[in-house]
């Protein structure tokens, strides 16, 4: 919980990791990729305030105690959602697996939501593993990384029939939240890997599932916005937007927030600190303090209300995951599209 100027915010960090990218975990022969991956992540950290930068060694592998302190003691986070990324082609025990995350979560009851993942290239075996993960940890969400390498394959698409089988399985197992993370490779490589039209396709075919596009589709914010505005079950994960722009590029941050509010609105935006790339503390505090600049350049963007910030920082994710929100931290009316327009609905019927 974060309190500022008499307002209390229930904070759900929608995107967190407990990873091991230390050299001991690099797969022999794949060292350059394992090293390249974590160095790329580490460069992103440089976009945050200097006092929050870590050494590369610290960044490769960090202790549980430190993560708990950064998130819950200092970072104002009430509940954090683990988003696994396996990358077992490069990291022997995986980069950030459901198992490792869940083991940590079990030591701290009530603090974490454990999401799992799937990869349509894993066939029947992968479907069975998904069912086992859900049974063991009660997962309500999955994190998908379409750019993951597997053997000679450089990625996959949500349009594939194999992906549809997995989405059907999600529905059957009671998984409701599909977090999609785009990366630089897919098959075929001549197509734009960051294209979000496959999310559009899946969201249309699976209207009962929620699709949370992580990093708001960066670097294709425009395609993501044009798509999301047409799909009622598509949400924006703000990981990287706040972490990567609010400090380093404040003017671009303002414009990106203005665009997201225009095309998606305050009920569709989900905060995520993307730990350990960035610590949540400066992001939560900075976002609560942030206001749209008043220069004419921003005149066609609306201001963000305190209610909007409360939704984005936690109430929207709490709604998607059915997390209990203490009454004093909730809005006077329930969060969500239904609550946002309590008078409009009866009038229009």
């Amino acid at each position: 919980m974060y309190e500022k100027d008499g307002e209390k915010y229930f904070v759900v960090d929608g995107h967190t990791h407990f990873w091991d990218a230390s050299p001991a975990n690099w797969v022999p022969g794949q060292e350059q990729y394992a090293k390249g991956w974590i160095e790329c992540f580490h460069a992103y950290q440089s976009l945050g305030p200097p006092e929050t930068h870590w050494s590369l060694e610290q960044f490769q592998k960090y202790p549980e105690e430190m993560m708990m302190r950064h998130l819950f003691d200092e970072g104002h986070v009430d509940v954090a959602i683990f988003q696994p990324t396996y990358l077992k082609q490069w990291y022997r025990d995986g980069f950030n697996t459901t198992e490792t995350n869940a083991a940590l979560a079990e030591r701290h009851p009530g603090k974490f939501v454990v999401n799992t993942r799937w990869d349509p290239r894993e066939g029947d075996e992968g479907l069975a593993q998904l069912a086992a993960d859900v049974e063991r940890w009660g997962c309500k969400g999955v994190k998908l990384y379409t750019a993951e390498w597997r053997g000679d394959s450089r990625g996959w698409s949500l349009k594939s029939p194999e992906a549809a089988r997995y989405l059907e399985k999600c529905q059957e197992l009671g998984i409701t939240n599909i977090h999609v993370h785009k990366g630089p490779t897919i098959w075929p490589l001549d197509k734009d890997a960051f294209d979000v039209s496959d999310v559009d396709f899946a969201a249309t075919n699976f209207p009962e599932l929620n699709f949370i596009v992580e990093h708001v589709g960066l670097p294709r914010i425009e395609d993501f916005c044009f798509m999301a505005t047409q799909e009622p079950n598509v949400y924006a994960g703000l990981a990287v937007v706040i972490g990567g722009l609010m400090h380093a590029r404040p003017r671009f941050f303002a414009k990106v927030m203005g665009e997201l509010m225009f095309w998606l609105g305050e009920d569709k935006l989900i905060f995520g600190a993307d730990y350990a790339i960035w610590e949540p503390r400066w992001q939560v505090e900075g976002f609560v303090d942030w206001n749209m600049p008043t220069d004419p350049e921003y005149s066609d963007y609306g201001q963000l209300s305190t209610q909007a910030k409360k939704k984005i920082l936690g109430l929207n994710a709490a709604r998607l995951y059915g997390l209990p929100v203490p009454p004093e931290l909730d809005l006077p009316v329930p969060a969500g599209p239904e609550g946002a327009e309590p008078l409009a609905a009866p009038a229009s019927i």
């Binding site: 350059q32 990729y33 390249g36 991956w37 160095e39 790329c40 460069a43 992103y44 440089s46 976009l47 000679d152 450089r154 990366g183 630089p184 490779t185 098959w187 075929p188 490589l189 001549d190 197509k191 734009d192 890997a193 960051f194 960066l218 670097p219 294709r220 914010i221 425009e222 916005c225 044009f226 990567g244 722009l245 380093a248 590029r249 404040p250 003017r251 671009f252 414009k255 990106v256 203005g258 665009e259 225009f262 095309w263 004419p296 350049e297």
Partner: protein, 245 residues
Amino acid sequence: MTGMATDQTAHTPGAVWSALHQVRDPELDEAVTDLGFVAGCRVSDAGEAVVRLRLPTYFCAPNFAFLMVADAYDAVSAVPGVDRVQVILEDHFASTEINSGIAARAGFVHSFDGQALAELDELRAEFLRKAVMAGTDRVCRPLLAAGRTPGELAELTLGEAPASADRERLRSRRAELGLPAGDGDPLLVDPVTGAAIGAQALPLHLRRARTTRVSVDANAGVCRGLLRERYGTADVSRTDAEEMG
């Protein structure tokens, strides 16, 4: 002044740099020289140009990287006095495939055997269309700020828009796509069909143009930040305020 051959050799590095200045990151629509992507460039007395390129991350998308290396190779090859060209992409996961593919003039499909189905012309066109949309915002925003109505913009021709670098940049991207780009052609055209945007479709068109520009600018901002962290390139990383200026 000495003989002609010597003069040409002395001027070649500058000419090579000028040629590289015409090479753009297709995704960001900016010159690779301005983005800090040229790590080095030298020309030997024998007329061999060696250009080293670098990118913000080890995992930057290989298709765009391939286009930049290919374009750099073509641009530098056309410089008088350059007889041989080597373009080397450094510190990238696909450096080997890209560098050897370009050197062999093998094309994208051959360079990424089994991973690609087509060459990159459609990808390039797709991003040129984005550049047209972003450029539309750059040209139209000042007009709207000065009090022109969207309806008035729908009536304007390209030649009637105030002369500016942004207008010429927009014109050149349209021409590359084969879209109408003459002074008498409409200022606002559909980036796919080239048809004029009518008054009714215009507000949404301008909104989309604005969003596209914000997206591309934000990306370029992130890329500059990552490149700076990777290579310590503070000198080529313009500040946020300057970029928005």
